[in-house]
Amino acid sequence: MSTGQPAVRLCHLYPDHLNIYADRGNIAVFQRRLEWRVLSLEVVEVGLGDPIPSDCHLYYLGGGQDRDQMLVAEDLVQKADPLRHAAHDGAVVLGVCGGYQLLGHGYSDADGRRMPGIGLLDLETTAGSSRLIGDVVLDVTLGGQTRTVVGYENHAGRTHLGGGCTPLGHVRRGHGNNGDDGCEGAVAGRCLGTYLHGPLLPKNPWMADTLLGWALEHAGFGVDLEPLDDELEAAAHGAAATRAGRRR
């Protein structure tokens, strides 16, 4: 049911292996929010062994089970150069959960085994002894605006940022990157990572539109995204924030 001219080309990395935290929902949000503005999204799926195109405007990496994430990591590090070039040229990159960890330097588990990352974000993840689980509320500044972002986290990894990136948000409710420093996610330029799923974008349409705006700009469209009727999204966002406050 795609309408309008193909405006944004999205590269969905490993849809068969990294898909367990409602990643499909984030893709659907990108697609519908373009369609509702009579633009369209073209999705390029890249699996194990497939080359990564360098001419996409938006790259998405979701979360998977440990075993799938390991398979993906070994494949991704060998072929990540086109992704690095695209990010360098201004393409948007979004990693969620396992995808977030893969965008960093690597993940070390409790037995000292190391899963490599591609180093697009200057961060390091180590396994914790417990999982950090629950509702999250963040204050996020992107594109000069600060808003509240809501989501759900469930991760064993403890992520610490280096000097080459800044936190995506500051934690009002929840654990965040490591449960200690009050930070969640990471940003460097247009490359973003976060543990928030549930999925992330339906209840945070402002964030979806910010990323789409960047992707459109990279695609050479000088369009301002017209506002949509986000009444339902706003109600869902408000309900999630209220519940997160109550659960504490």
Binding site: M1, N19, G25, A28, R131, Y152, N154, K203
Partner: protein, 459 residues
């Protein structure tokens, strides 16, 4: 606390259960066992050993309540005196509570939570263990599926070699675990007409357990279940010992199955809809065969059973026929959708989404359900969403493409039911799709209106 003598611990625990019932705190299906396990941790093992015919455990992500009821029906028909736990009390405490009432029983039959199964296998030393399926469910509660698979594998390795393992040959993860056991009986679906040729979105087990290569599916029945083989190492589904050679689905009215067993064929008219219930009937048949019941006993007994609590129940409210289909994970929800699409009228839905402990607090799973199928061809006439996470479900459908004028968000369940009844009054059919705790809430609303028995009276 030191362990109390068995008689004393047992009577204290029974007393606590009666007190709880008197105080109106529920049916007492878990409190006595919880207390007993504190007072005398070895009590479960001792009581299990005292059941003369031994213990049967059934476990899997989906279908264990229905399957336990089907096995129970076959055992009842054979005149066997059975002690069993009830729906919703399938952890250690529920099993201990049931065993407190096992005097005079010849056999114990327990449906068991998949995370509790390894510990209960060690405690009760079962004669038969039925391993039904493993789907991704409630990630926040169980951790990752892989971990559960490993724990099941370890538990089966520790099992007495003389015990019988019944297993679903169509589930690659379960089959790989069970096939290692020396004494096993497999079951599965053989009828190629009911299968599809590709896996659904976010299927759980798609890699070979031996070599890690991608599995090839000649036929997919539900989620990752089907006729699978490894393209690299040759590991493959075996032909099941108990198999459905013909599956005829008749929408919500039920189905007919032709089942081959080592003891002879069974022609079964089942009053339970959907292919998930074909699997439940096969699991029950295989378990009953392993308990030496005859095909002539099993078939008629299974045919009499109605759906278990909340699984395809029908209630008449005024002029509207209300069908309740429980779903708490993508595999179950997708099966419900396929079943509803076999009906030929426009669909009016009331979806109830909660995120309490028994539902799973992470509602991401709703994005793995193919709700889009309901929108194809305009089949979905109206949708009312309710429950703790009503807005999450509303957004799921908004981004699936549902027009806003067909969608109502009504967080309160009684008000949502009224709204949904009103929307569905033109056709007179309403489907209610709740998660587990939402089902309990919904049944309480119906009970308030004098329409169904309350939960712990369910048998």
């Amino acid at each position: 606390m030191p362990s109390l003598p068995q008689g004393l611990a047992a009577s204290a625990a029974r007393g606590a259960g009666r007190l709880s019932q008197k105080l109106g705190r529920g049916g007492g299906t878990t409190i006595p066992g919880l207390l007993l396990n504190r007072l005398r941790p070895e009590a479960t093992a001792e009581m299990a050993l005292a059941v003369p015919g031994g213990v049967v455990l059934l476990s899997g992500t989906n279908g264990k309540t229905t399957t336990a009821r089907l096995v129970r029906a076959a055992l009842d028909a054979s005149g066997t005196r059975v002690v069993a736990n009830t729906a919703g009390s399938n952890l250690e405490r529920g099993v201990a509570t049931a065993l407190l009432n096992s005097e005079g029983a010849e056999l114990a039959l327990f449906e068991v939570d998949e995370a509790a199964l390894p510990r209960l296998m060690a405690q009760t030393r079962p004669r038969v263990v039925t391993l039904m399926n493993l789907f991704r469910d409630q990630l926040d509660r169980y951790g990752e599926l892989e971990h559960l698979v490993d724990r099941w594998r370890d538990a089966v390795a520790e099992l007495d070699p003389a015990a019988t393992v019944i297993y679903n040959a169509d589930d690659p993860a379960v089959a790989e675990i069970a096939a290692r056991h020396p004494n096993s009986v497999s079951y599965g679906i053989e009828d190629p007409r009911v299968g599809r040729d590709r896996l659904p979105h976010a299927a759980d087990t798609t890699e070979c357990r031996h070599c890690g290569a991608s599995l090839h599916y000649e036929m997919v029945t539900i989620a990752h279940l089907g006729r699978w083989s490894c393209s690299e190492c040759g590991l493959a589904r075996v032909q099941p010992d108990v198999r459905a050679t013909r599956v005829e689905l008749h929408g919500l009215d039920g189905q007919r199955l032709a089942i081959a067993t080592p003891q002879g064929p069974i022609e079964l008219s089942l009053r339970l809809p959907g292919m998930h219930n074909s699997y439940n009937a096969l699991a029950a048949t295989a378990t009953a065969v392993a308990l030496n019941l005859a095909p002539e006993t099993i078939g008629p007994a299974l045919a009499k059973r109605e759906a278990a609590f909340g699984r395809a129940e029908r209630t008449q409210i005024g002029k509207v026929k209300v069908t309740t289909l429980l779903a708490k994970n993508p595999a179950g929800a997708n099966e419900n959708i396929r079943t509803m699409l076999l009906e030929d009228h426009p669909l009016h839905l009331l979806v109830l989404l909660n995120d309490r402990t028994a539902d799973g607090q992470d509602v991401s799973w709703i994005w793995d359900v193919d709700y889009e199928l309901l929108l194809d061809g305009g089949r979905l006439a109206s949708l009312t969403v309710s429950g703790d996470r009503a807005y999450d479900m509303a957004l799921r459908f908004r981004y699936a493409g549902l027009e806003p004028d067909r969608l109502s968000v009504v967080p309160s369940v009684p008000a949502a039911l009224n709204a949904a009844l009103q929307s569905s009054s033109p056709t007179g059919d309403l489907y209610v799709l709740p998660t587990y705790t939402a089902l309990l809430e919904f049944q309480a609303v119906l009970a308030d209106r004098g329409l169904v028995p309350s939960f712990w009276e369910d048998r």
